[in-house]
């Protein structure tokens, strides 16, 4: 209860801080969402992507 009141008074009460909260939240959300999506994609395609099978085709001398 006290936490929600603090959050309300600090972030949501003024429109200016609310807008800043939304912008900063969008940046963080984008990063988390994109990385989670990529992780899910690679998990579903494990062993099929080039970076998973790259070592099979690389010559040893390089």
């Amino acid at each position: 209860m006290a936490l929600s009141q603090t959050v309300y008074n600090l972030l949501f009460r003024r429109t200016s801080t609310f807008a800043i909260t939304i912008m900063v939240g969008a940046v963080l959300f984008e990063r988390v969402f994109d990385q989670a999506g990529n992780a899910v994609f690679e998990q579903l395609n494990r062993g099929k992507l080039w970076k998973h099978i790259k070592h099979n085709y690389e010559s040893k001398d390089e």
Binding site: S4, Q5, Y8, F18, F29
Partner: protein, 273 residues
């Protein structure tokens, strides 16, 4: 007029404009209606102050008719079968108790509401940003087009005093290795006698190398290198003479040969594009 009619005596009925009142088509605005009721409860002590206090003078039983200029005529019945809607299912748990003050839970309820609003806005901003980014990046050139749009030229292959032609973005590209004599001659040209005044040092990065697009500025023919009166380029179509810096000197062409963007790489290679 009226006084004249009154003084006319016996002739007054003939002199008046209207003699008889005729009933118009309009009905009376408020029809008379008697309220019939056995026991009329009158609170005689209540003062006649306003519409509300007047309604207290009406009988409280049975149908009553209320008529007035400000309200449409209607018949009111005493309803006992109307259920008062119960909104308790939609209330927040903090305000279920009607005896508790809702002000105490004010900020936490607002925080909850704004949290959802903010979360929706965050996802909206993210979606809008993604859509705009995709749209803008779809307008830029793709990687294969970008790879084709550059050309690397080995300058060591071009001997001094010679001109080589390359194909770049579907157009001929002239790369000329100038001699010291040509460099001197072009740098000494008086700008006042040029049609498109441009100094030689503005057209070259390294004075030894002149890189121009080989399209005549007149009608788009490809000039011939090392020909013409000025020892540079000569357009065979309509006889435009360019000098060794690619500047128009004689003939119908209005402008100098175009200089593309290029940069010198480390080991004698120039990258055009």
């Amino acid at each position: 007029m009226i006084s004249f009619g009154a003084r006319a005596g016996a002739f007054s009925p003939y002199l008046q404009a209207t003699n008889f009142a005729v009933a118009g088509p309009l009905k009376p605005l408020i029809p008379a209606f008697a309220v019939k009721s056995e026991n009329v409860l009158l609170d005689l002590k209540k003062p006649f102050l306003c519409r509300e206090s007047l309604s207290g003078q009406c009988p409280t039983r049975g149908p009553t008719v209320s008529l007035g200029l400000s309200a449409p005529g209607s018949i009111r019945f005493a309803h006992t079968d109307i259920k008062v809607p119960d909104f308790y299912d939609y209330r927040r748990p903090d305000v279920l108790d009607p005896k508790k003050s809702s002000r105490d839970s004010d900020e936490s309820r607002k925080a909850f509401s704004y949290l959802f609003t903010g979360a929706t806005a965050v996802m909206g901003v993210y979606a809008a940003k993604t859509v705009v980014t995709q749209f803008v990046s779809s307008m830029s050139a793709s990687a294969d087009v970008l790879a084709l749009s550059k050309i690397e030229i080995k300058l060591d292959d071009i001997p001094e005093g010679k001109n080589m032609t390359f194909k770049w973005r579907g157009k001929p590209l002239f790369v000329r290795h100038r001699t010291a004599k040509e460099i001197e001659a072009e740098a000494a040209v008086n700008l006042a006698e040029l049609r498109d005044p441009q100094h030689d040092k503005d057209r070259v990065m390294n004075p030894k190398w002149v890189i121009v697009i080989g399209v005549c500025t007149h009608l788009g023919c490809v000039p011939i290198a090392n020909a013409g009166d000025y020892g540079g380029y000569y357009c065979p179509c309509h006889g435009s003479h360019y000098d060794a810096s690619g500047r128009i000197r004689k003939g119908p062409a209005p402008l100098n040969l175009e200089v593309p963007y290029y940069e010198f790489a480390d080991d004698g290679i120039v990258i055009v594009g």
